[in-house]
């Protein structure tokens, strides 16, 4: 029996990833201070108006302050969940909110400086070999 036959495709130019200058490396400490100086830097990748927070599924969210009495129950629940870092995807799962609603809620809390966003490390034109090696090492321990 012969298997069905596929035909390979070529990369489309619009999908070639642009270099991403603002991604902090994993090993870099002292993220807190950098964030305070320029809170936008970690989560805004681009955007025509510069106002929209580009939250990825795996952006890590951490509470930076206790919930003030003014927050909504939804916001309070989120702040409680991210006393330790938690990804946007996990927050969406635990709070049972669609991803888009989740990012809107988090964006409000970032603006209110109640949470901090830690940007993911994304695939880049110039890949970081030590990152790949770290992941391999971690998988080996599984």
């Amino acid at each position: 029996m012969t298997p069905p036959q596929r035909k390979r495709r070529r990369p489309r130019p619009e999908h070639v990833p642009p270099p991403l200058p603002s991604t902090p490396p994993a090993a870099e400490g002292g993220g807190e201070e950098g964030d305070k100086k320029n809170p936008e830097r970690l989560y805004v990748i681009s955007g025509a108006d510069g106002a929209r927070a580009e939250l990825d599924l795996v952006t890590l969210i951490v509470a930076r302050a206790a919930a003030p009495p003014s927050v909504t129950p939804e916001q309070a629940a989120l702040l409680r969940l991210c006393l330790a870092p938690l990804s946007v995807a996990e927050l969406s799962a635990y709070l049972d909110l669609p991803f888009s609603a989740m990012t809107a809620l988090i964006t409000e809390l970032i603006t209110a400086e109640l949470v901090q966003a830690r940007a993911p490390i994304v695939r880049q034109a110039l890949p970081d070999r030590s990152l790949l090696e770290a992941v391999m090492h971690g998988l080996q321990k599984l």
């Binding site: 012969t2 070639v16 599924l57 969406s92 669609p98 970081d128 790949l132 992941v135 971690g138 998988l139």
Partner: protein, 206 residues
């Protein structure tokens, strides 16, 4: 809004909490046609109980579709399972079991753009259900490996015959796996990482 009080929202179990030192995450997508074993693979390697994130697709999104819910007047909910593996105290890996149809991918911002790479799962009984997703990854320049899920009643092709059928260049790894077994799924992820590393070494990653 009907929302649970903050005391009743179940969060991660204590042992599932990430350390405060967690600085950044990376992600890998596990993709393939309907029923090829995506959920099974995410579940077998995840250190946490697999979770689900959902997104609602509106009428406009469904309209471009040919055979799925196009007659429906209501919004469609698309779900995606994911799992997690802690790599170091600073670094976390997330795995997303992603529906094969590209029309769902845009629902999650940056799902494929930022992924380190992808695992394409195939079922030899229905190879063609994963053809489209491979083409989409190629168009987007997302590096991937192919994992052949071993279903007992599936035809067994020699790897090189599969490579020809899938029109894959010689450097793209094709490996057999049993997505139900953690060690096997882990080996698939290792194969992807070694492949990405070799691309990095040769400077060929675009």
């Amino acid at each position: 809004m009907d929302f649970k009080s903050s005391d009743t929202v179940p969060g991660p179990r204590t042992e599932d909490q990430l350390p405060h030192t967690a600085q950044a995450a990376v992600k890998i997508v596990i993709v393939g046609g309907f029923g090829v074993g995506k959920t099974t693979m995410v579940g077998s390697v995840s250190e946490i109980r697999p979770l689900t994130t959902e997104e609602t697709m509106t009428q406009a999104g469904i309209g471009v579709d040919d055979n799925y819910g196009s007659e429906s007047k209501t919004a469609t909910t698309v779900a995606m399972d994911f799992g997690r593996i802690s790599i170091t105290d600073q670094l976390v890996l997330y795995l997303f079991g992603t529906p094969g149809q590209e029309r769902f991918w845009f629902l999650w911002n940056g799902l494929f753009e930022g992924a380190l790479g992808a695992v394409v799962l195939i079922d030899t009984r229905r190879l063609e259900v994963s053809f489209d997703v491979m083409g989409r990854l190629e168009e987007r320049g997302v590096p991937f490996v192919v994992a052949v899920n071993s279903f007992p009643d599936g035809p067994r092709y020699p790897i090189e015959e599969l490579r020809t059928a899938l029109d894959l260049s010689p450097e793209i790894p094709i490996i057999e796996c049993d997505a139900r077994r953690r060690a096997s799924s882990r080996d698939v992820l290792m194969t992807l990482m070694r492949f990405l590393h070799s691309l990095a070494m040769s400077g060929a990653l675009t």
